[in-house]
Amino acid sequence: MEGEETLVFSITAIVALAVAVVALAVHYAVWGRRRQAAWSPGGTRVRRYGAWDRFVLAVTGVCFLVLVGTGLSGAFSEEGLEEWRLWVHMLAAPGFALGLAAAAVTFAERCRFAPHDAAWLAHGGALFGKQRPLPAGRFDAGQKLFFWLGVTLGFVALVSIMATLVPVFGDEGQEVLAGVHRYSTLALMVVVLGGAYALLLVRRGAWRTLVTGAAEEQYVRYYYPTWWEQLQKQQGHKHGK
């Protein structure tokens, strides 16, 4: 990046990330903390993620953190994306690309929007008022939104950087592509920050569910009532047989 572009991106990144953090902090202070008490662990567990699901998410997440760490530190350091940062960045990139593609294939069908998601979205996922159950399938509309935003921004980031490696774009095209890569990843960072907030601080038990692959029955019934009903029907169907 030339000096002026570096400065503009650095300022934009600082502002975007600061706004996101402040917004999440405000949300946590006003609504988020109360939500943690809404559920307590224990009871029968329901499998939500298979081993493959968790492997894919783990690879994508770790690679993304490495990419963010090297990319952002490069943007904010005087040396820029100097060699060791660049190398680590580029070594983590294939892992992220593979992880993202695998995640897209794995979760796309599960994250297809359903009619009941409109109600979830209309109530803002009950994130800003009194907490109450909202209709949600295996993934609620917020998680679906997060997924599709993540896949789309990840795709833009990936395609923009891959395009620089083919002898099609000249200097100016390369700079544009590099800009698209930087700003799409910044947007992805903000999205991931929101997702991580929901995962770790707002929805108690979500992280444990992701790590172990199973969620408490109470948790599933509360957050994913539509899916729970489907599971019940399937079980009833099996028992009926």
Partner: protein
């Protein structure tokens, strides 16, 4: 004019002698006036049919047997302000009021017998020594390096400096070496700069421009005459060689009005520049090095001065970004690689803000990640010889006297100059450089190493100053070095002025003699190689580094980082502490190797990357259309 000249001739030998001896001392009084230039304001060249003037401003007549040599300052200075011109980059090195500028090619003090190759520059570039620091007077400097001096600068000292010089008597006999305009501005190739070199060797400084122009032959050598030479005295029959120099003019070169046609040009030919700026690759294992390709700009029809421009001040642009004033006040900053090929947005003239100047094509750099343009200079990929596993040995005009006929010059003739070496430039970009490992005898005082004057070293080592440079530094074995250090210790001790330890510096190491006679070897900044950036020959895009793919540079054996930079002579003696280019670049060989290894998988990684792109695109399209269809159904 002729009458005037004849009067001068008939005034007797006395007046001639007085003039010849007194002029250098009376230069302030007789300094050519800064004339109002006679201008044509046309692009058509002015036909220079000129009357010649000598140092005293007297018109030269070819029929005058006592005619003095012509003076460029007097002759050319009639219309062109000599004083202004003499402030130009080619002449202003010794001036304290001129900034050093970006380090460039140094003069190299070479003495093969003592294993000395020492970079010198009056500009005090880091890593060089000034001529004064190594005990060279202006006189000695001119005798040693004048073969490629265009005149002026140290060759034309002010009268006070002449008076104070140890060689004042010689200066008075030889005269100053004025700037010879024709060295650069000759258009027809009749001016012979090699003749200048021959005249300087004969100490005929004042006569050199006349001989080089070819309007006269010069008989006699100033170096043969004694300090008390009397130009009025008749030749001594016992010592006819002491008659002193004399210009014998070629009448055929003069017209009936005693004017001489000067074939000059403002757009100097590259061939003129090449006399001083030739760089030749040599391979000691090959009898004849094949002729190198020319710079792509010359092939395209440009010449050096199309980019390296200047005004009357001759502050010639050196052509790199950030050059700036004051050294090149008259040069356009837009005349850089970037300025012509990409446009210089900061430039005042609109035409210079745009790219395509002088027909420069706009580079595309397709597929080249932009990082390269930030981290590398343009020259890194486009200039100099293609890098090889071991840096190439080079010879330059200034260092090896190229352009002057010699039967002794061989591929191994010192100094050892190598290139291209890719190291960080002043602009923090990797830039190709040429490199010289300093080798010299000196004194270590505290932490500082300073070279000893060469004549003292030669005296201490018992070397004749006239010894033929057929012996190169490889003859200096460790034993010979130890003996030399011992001899030097003895030589400097009696004088009492050299408090310190005698040392010999070579190939990045300092060899110091202890009082007990043992020799200790250690690294020292004074032993570091001197490097200076190269800007030519420029190779076209399809010959640039990277044209063959990423592995031109990103390979485990790529010369760009893994090229060996050990001087050939050190291969047989002591290896320097820096062996590979990555060490000068400050890079880790492990990281470089890992990175380079990844390029073996680069195609695989690209396939993976694009495979992922295809998968993601397919998912997005499939579910995107599906979602869109659902939304449309909802609203319909």
């Amino acid at each position: 004019m002729r009458a005037g000249a004849m009067r001068a001739a008939t005034a007797g030998q006395a007046s001639v002698a007085i003039v010849m001896l007194a002029v250098p001392l009376l230069v302030p009084a007789a300094e050519p006036q800064e004339s109002q230039a006679l201008r044509t304001d046309s692009r058509a060249p002015y036909v220079h049919r000129l009357t010649l003037y000598d140092d005293d401003g007297i018109v030269i007549s070819p029929s005058d047997p006592l005619a003095a040599p012509y003076s460029p300052a007097r002759t050319c200075g009639k219309c062109h302000a000599y004083g202004t011109i003499s402030s130009g980059w080619h002449f202003n090195a010794p001036r304290a009021d001129v900034g050093p500028g970006r380090p460039g090619e140094p003069w190299v003090l070479v003495d093969a017998a003592s294993g000395t190759q020492l970079p010198l520059s009056a500009r005090s570039w880091p890593g060089t020594f000034t001529p004064q620091q190594v005990g060279l007077t202006d006189w000695q400097f001119v005798l040693r390096f004048g073969h490629h001096l265009p005149g002026g600068g140290p060759a034309e000292p002010v009268p006070a400096a002449v008076a104070a010089a140890p060689e004042a008597a010689r200066w008075r006999i030889s005269g100053p070496l004025q700037i010879d305009c024709l060295v650069c501005h000759s258009a027809d190739g009749r001016h012979d700069p090699a003749e200048t070199a021959r005249q300087i060797e004969r100490e005929n400084f004042r006569w050199s421009a006349t001989a080089a122009l070819g309007v006269a032959v010069v008989r006699g050598d100033a170096r043969q005459v004694p300090d008390d030479w009397d130009p009025l005295a008749p030749p001594n029959p016992d010592f006819p060689e002491q008659a002193g120099p004399k210009a014998v003019y070629d009448r055929a070169r003069f017209d009936t009005d005693d004017r001489v046609f000067f074939s000059t040009t403002k757009r100097c030919s590259a061939d003129r520049c090449y006399f001083c700026h030739t760089v030749r690759e040599v391979d000691p294992t090959v009898a004849e090095t094949p002729r190198a390709d020319s710079d792509v700009h010359l092939t395209a029809g440009l010449t050096c001065v199309d980019c390296h421009r200047h005004g009357l001040d001759h502050a010639i642009g050196r052509g790199f970004e950030g050059e700036g004033a004051p050294a090149v006040a008259s040069a356009s900053t837009a005349l850089t690689c970037r300025g012509c090929h990409l446009g210089d947005t900061a430039s005042a003239p609109a035409s210079a803000r745009l790219d395509g100047r002088l027909g420069a094509p706009r580079p595309r750099h397709r597929g080249l990640p932009p990082l390269h343009l930030r981290e590398l200079s343009c020259t890194a990929c486009h200039c100099g010889p293609w890098p090889t596993g071991h840096v190439r040995r080079l010879q330059t005009s200034l260092a090896h006297g190229l352009g002057i006929g010699s039967k002794e010059r061989a591929a191994t003739t010192p100094p050892e100059i190598y290139g291209p070496v890719f190291v960080m430039g002043e602009d923090e970009k990797l830039t190709p450089h040429r490199m010289l490992w300093p080798a010299f005898w000196g004194i270590l005082t505290g932490d500082a190493v300073r070279p000893l004057p060469l004549d003292r070293v030669q005296a201490a080592l018992g070397i004749s100053p006239r010894s033929a440079p057929s012996v190169s530094a490889e003859a200096l074995t460790p034993d010979a070095m130890a003996r030399g250090l011992a001899a030097l210790a003895e030589a400097v001790k009696p004088e009492g002025g050299e408090a310190g330890t005698p040392v010999y510096v070579r190939a990045g190491l300092v060899h110091a003699r202890h009082p007990d006679g043992s020799v200790r070897t250690f690294e020292h900044p004074a032993a570091k190689p001197y490097v200076w950036p190269l800007g030519h020959d420029v190779r076209p895009a399809r010959q640039a580094l990277g044209a063959g793919g990423c592995t031109d540079c990103h390979a485990r054996d790529a010369a760009f980082s893994f090229g060996r930079i050990v001087p050939e002579t050190a291969e047989q003696t002591d290896r320097p502490p820096i062996e590979f280019m990555y060490e000068l670049q400050g890079e880790s060989p492990v990281l470089l190797s890992i990175w380079a290894s990844s390029f073996a998988w680069r195609l695989t990684l690209k396939i993976i990357g694009f495979g992922c792109v295809v998968v993601l695109a397919a998912v997005l399209l499939l579910y995107g259309f599906s979602g869109l269809s659902a939304v449309l159904k909802l609203f319909s």
